[in-house]
Symmetry: C2
Amino acid sequence: MDNFEFCNPVRIIFGKDRIRDLNEYIPSGVKVMIIYGGGSIFRNGVYEKVKNALKGVNTCEFGGVEPNPCHETCMRAVTQIRDSGVDFLLAVGGGSVIDATKYIAAAVYFKGDPWQILSRNASINKTMPFGSVLTLPATGTEMNANSVISKQSSGEKLAFSDPKVMPQFSILDPTTSASLPQKQVANGIVDAFVHVIEQYLTYPNHAPLQDRMAEAILKTLIEEGPKVYKNPADYDAMANLMWCSTMALNGLISRGVPEDWMIHMIGHELTAFHGIDHARTLAVVLPGVWWVFREEKGEKLEQYATRVWNIHDGSPAEKVVRAIERTTEFFESLNIATKLSNYNIGIDTVEKIVQRFKKRRWTAIGDREMGTPEKVREILEHQLK
Amino acid sequence: MDNFEFCNPVRIIFGKDRIRDLNEYIPSGVKVMIIYGGGSIFRNGVYEKVKNALKGVNTCEFGGVEPNPCHETCMRAVTQIRDSGVDFLLAVGGGSVIDATKYIAAAVYFKGDPWQILSRNASINKTMPFGSVLTLPATGTEMNANSVISKQSSGEKLAFSDPKVMPQFSILDPTTSASLPQKQVANGIVDAFVHVIEQYLTYPNHAPLQDRMAEAILKTLIEEGPKVYKNPADYDAMANLMWCSTMALNGLISRGVPEDWMIHMIGHELTAFHGIDHARTLAVVLPGVWWVFREEKGEKLEQYATRVWNIHDGSPAEKVVRAIERTTEFFESLNIATKLSNYNIGIDTVEKIVQRFKKRRWTAIGDREMGTPEKVREILEHQLK
């Protein structure tokens, strides 16, 4: 096991009707800006619950955060905050709204252009405190220090991470997700699943507890995912998905073990070129990565086959093939395609992505830096059809 | 799944030679009191490592915290702190030293008799900040809000819990435990194992992730425990035991699920009457609790049999019997006895314990309050020989 540090002070307030208790967690006397997205919170009743819980609290609102939240949108919020004396933020929505709120919390006190936090890794000295009310289980941002922000003017999409942008609290009420479209539920399941994979499917590192905790999340997603997909109003199943997606990326399962993130890095390019939903790009890339690195990742792939899918027969190589098939079938059972042809993407995009990786300074990505541009080509070509 | 709240801000600094980094986590300009136990830290080199890491820091010391830490001892530390202008505490040792430090941290600012924190659940307004260097994996106190303190003058042993007594940081360096006596290693394994059981072996509550995380810890303890027992200097095995014992009682696996703690409550009486090591009392009581409640806990016991011990053959009742046997064999393989006769305890002690439970206000203990005094008698009688 590698040396590690772990500290996650986010307060999780989990369960049915917990929005009712919101006021207890807001510091007294502050002016709160409620930040939200495209307005689904008006249709699903969450806005009303939040407003009822905040009776007597001085609030203002900022809506319209987009699915891939933009610097430009966030900067409009920053202006409004400065103009109106806000001193606490409340993100109400899914991963995009929470990611945007993290950036806003850092930008509001930043001297100079806040985009430098992303583009130049500029350090954050002070942030505005904030909480969140999660309405879509998927990204894990409700309990971590990460945020991904896009810049419209330059077409960039960059990430930053800083413990100072961890929420003070996050309310996870599974009933808020009961009316989610099936497509978003499916995306959430696959997103959480691949988050775990990126921290697990590398090579053995004498960390059996971390391995088993990762497998615990994967098995629960496989078991509960189809139930939530079929019926997002199934409270228990949604509660389990919500807790799985939070646990998938709150920093715990990666402590002391190697990580990969190659699937994400290649997937981001598919979103950049074709606007495919993030989770869907992961489902396309994952089987290719495992196929190309089936030997290098062999030990962990066999462990995954046996423990997660109960595949006990056949040679190690056969087990690995079967595990890749089972994973693909799982994604497809959620109506998530796993081939580039499903998105009408051909060899020309593969070439563009490979050229992009070649132009970047780093020579290789992922686990043991095995993802050279040529391997990226192999991975994507394997997933063509 | 039940509604829950989770917040654990303790910073874990894990791994080889991490004591070296201690100074980074101590606030600048403070006077630190180093609190330790019977002096093993002088023999195993931990004291020297701590002192080297604290070069340039103003320190003083308080030693002699006993295995079941006493109010009286802690109050002597409080006097010394008040006299010498200490403003940060550093616990260096096992669970007893950290538990004592938690009580000292609360007592130093308490108005009136601090024993009221335990005897009357008096509220704690302010505590002195502290960190810990753990030298013995077992209790989990390094990452939770709990403490157990005894009072010599009255013979009481009580517990308290308050988020204000969570350590600011805990350094978990497995090399500090390399010279532990086998007996203490065995106690630690069983202590962590039963901590998990108390939060897991109740009844199904639609919480598959919590179940699997609990099983992950149990399986890892079964796998790694014997390795550490045989050789405490096996770094990887000790690291896994250390992380397991912390994860066993940091509040995570009990979120949203019922808890039990009947084994602990009965075990405490065996320590009170006969001075048996805490972990050893748990190993005696556990098989009795499972036998007496084999029907009420049947579903979970069968799940435990199948998932933790891979017992797939036989009727549900046969699986449960086999799981109890396997667990008992596991304890005994660590040279931990599981019968009262092994400690020369007979029916007279059983009677005394039953009378004690009868005299208390609460009528029944544990999971679904099934532990009436008569059931306690059955449990202990089953474990007589």
